[in-house]
Amino acid sequence: MRIQIPAWLGLVCVCGLISCGNEMESPVSGPTQISLNSPDYFPNNVAMPADNPLTEQGVQLGRMLFYEKKLSADGSISCASCHQQQKAFSDGKQFSFGVNEAKGDMNAMSLSNLHWQNRFFWNGRAKTLEEQAVQPIEDEREMNLPIEEAVKRLEADTKYPALFKNAFGTEDINAELIGKALAQFERTLISANSKFDAWIRNEVELSPEEKLGMELFFTHPDPKLQLRGGNCSDCHLGFLTAGDPNGFTGFHNNGLDAEEHLASGLQSVTGNPFDKGKFKAPGLRNIALTAPYMHDGRFQTLEEVLDHYNDHIQNSPTLDVLILEASNELPDGSDAVKLHLSKDERKAIISFLHTLTDQEFITNPKFSDPFN
């Protein structure tokens, strides 16, 4: 059986353009509620947290806090030091440097389309964006500032008490409100204007190579039927190319290490040995801008990433079955786990990954440093 391709192309085009942010007039004076500017082909069933509605003032405050160096012990760094807009909010380093050149052991994650995710950090230890947002401030390898001290500094500042009042109706700054404001700003970091998006909206054509790459990306191979695939979308799902937001379903062991070197990953959160070596499957939007790759930044280039998935999968008891079982050739009796994509097919997938780069996202003045 041959899989028909074009049928879907027409269908997806019915997905309209990005919907306009409709600002609702609040009945009483107070922060102005806004909604996210997301395209209608993103999931539309994810509600704003009831206790942290998105407001113009909250987002504005969150943006300032995101770029605020006072939130680090020595005033040298802000969130944006490790999450830089021109790198799709990553930092280009294998491991990030916190205050006093303290070095972490994790690669800084790119931040986009976070509203559609449920668990944060590579090992999923933060349940909500609100909860996540205050952790880097206190982390000794990051900003290393006790949260009470952060609150004191903001209270003593000339601008912040009024900004908190506008956003949350109170000048009493606390950790919870800092988290809420940062989370609001982070939710607005939506990347949905890449070439891939324009293709979804039927505004551009992909090159034959990009299209082949897209098909491989979204296909689990079946060698019996000569159906070729890279099986990437088994874990990097749908239009968001991100992990499954359901509980920990989006966490996988993608074969980076053999059993004896397996990092604990999700196991450190759930305590279940079955979760050893599982990490969050990140969204791949703007992936060409966010090298190096993986939780420990071990790969410098997308070529290395593709070589990994094709040829260097390390087997271990928790290796994901979708990788264990994915091959473009029938089993040859050897126990090596190999995808068997050709060089051109790997190149095509990389071309497709480049269509996920969103120039507007990395230059959008709404996301830039407000102090400049």
Binding site: W8, E215, P221
Partner: protein, 240 residues
């Protein structure tokens, strides 16, 4: 005016309660709950190993499927309730119930539903809710939806190697409609129906699957997928 309204309301309540043996409420709540069973045990996805009908061990990791186009029928009177927009993604680690809400009262004696997504819905990906194409149930968006997903690992009895099973069944030919008889559903009485999905039935009847003998344990399209669909078309989901 208002008083008159209350009098009328009160009056009707009186009439209603005075003949309660006879009067049947116009609607009744029907809820369906699904239980997942493998080898006579409750399914778990956290690393527990089960024995397949073939005797091979199997550790399931993901189990999901669509139930769609649910209908209730009263074969005596011909009354039928057809649930509108009836697409339900059932998954072991997620939703395992179908709330039909309030349906017209009747002594329904048949439940009709399908496994999969009908041809019309299967040809579109601009859908929301349980058919949101951003979930892992949408295929490489040329091929519609996966109707049933079972993933897990087993030990190959020939090589003793750990091997994966990836069952992703879809395509219109594998959309199967199932009719089950109901007993005990009475007009006006809210009821919860318990259905049992017996995973053993994916591997047997009429087609026996011996995983270690398969040419490839990725079962997605073609003949093998058709065989699994034949297996799930009968005896897989039954009313308890």
């Amino acid at each position: 005016m208002k008083n008159l309204f209350y009098t009328a309301l009160f009056g009707s309540l009186l009439i209603f309660s005075s003949c309660k043996d006879e009067e049947i409420p116009a609607t009744m709540a029907i809820n369906i709950e699904l239980e997942h069973v493998l080898a006579g045990q409750t399914l778990e996805l956290n690393g527990k190993s089960f024995t397949l009908p073939s005797g091979e061990d199997f550790t399931p990791k993901k189990f999901k499927y669509y139930i769609s186009n649910v209908e209730l029928k009263n074969s005596a009177t011909g009354e039928t309730y057809v649930e509108p927009e009836s697409y339900h993604l059932i998954s072991e680690d997620g939703n395992k119930s179908i709330d039909l809400g309030m349906v017209p009262s009747s002594d329904y004696d048949q439940l009709v539903f399908s496994i999969g997504v009908d041809e019309v819905a299967n040809g579109k990906t601009d859908q929301t809710g349980d058919l949101d194409p951003n979930s892992d149930m949408a295929w490489n968006w040329n091929t519609g939806y996966k109707f049933l997903v079972l993933e897990g690992e087993f030990t190959n009895s020939k090589t003793s190697e750990r091997q994966g099973l990836v069952m992703h069944i879809g395509t219109n030919a594998n959309y199967k409609t199932i009719t089950q008889n109901l007993s005990g559903v009475r007009a006006g009485k809210s009821t919860t129906l318990i259905l049992s999905s017996n995973l053993d039935e994916l591997f047997l009847d009429p087609n026996t699957l011996q995983l270690s003998e398969l040419e490839s344990t990725t079962i997605m399209f073609g003949e093998m997928a058709g065989k699994v669909a034949e297996n799930y078309s009968d005896g897989f989901i039954t009313v308890k």
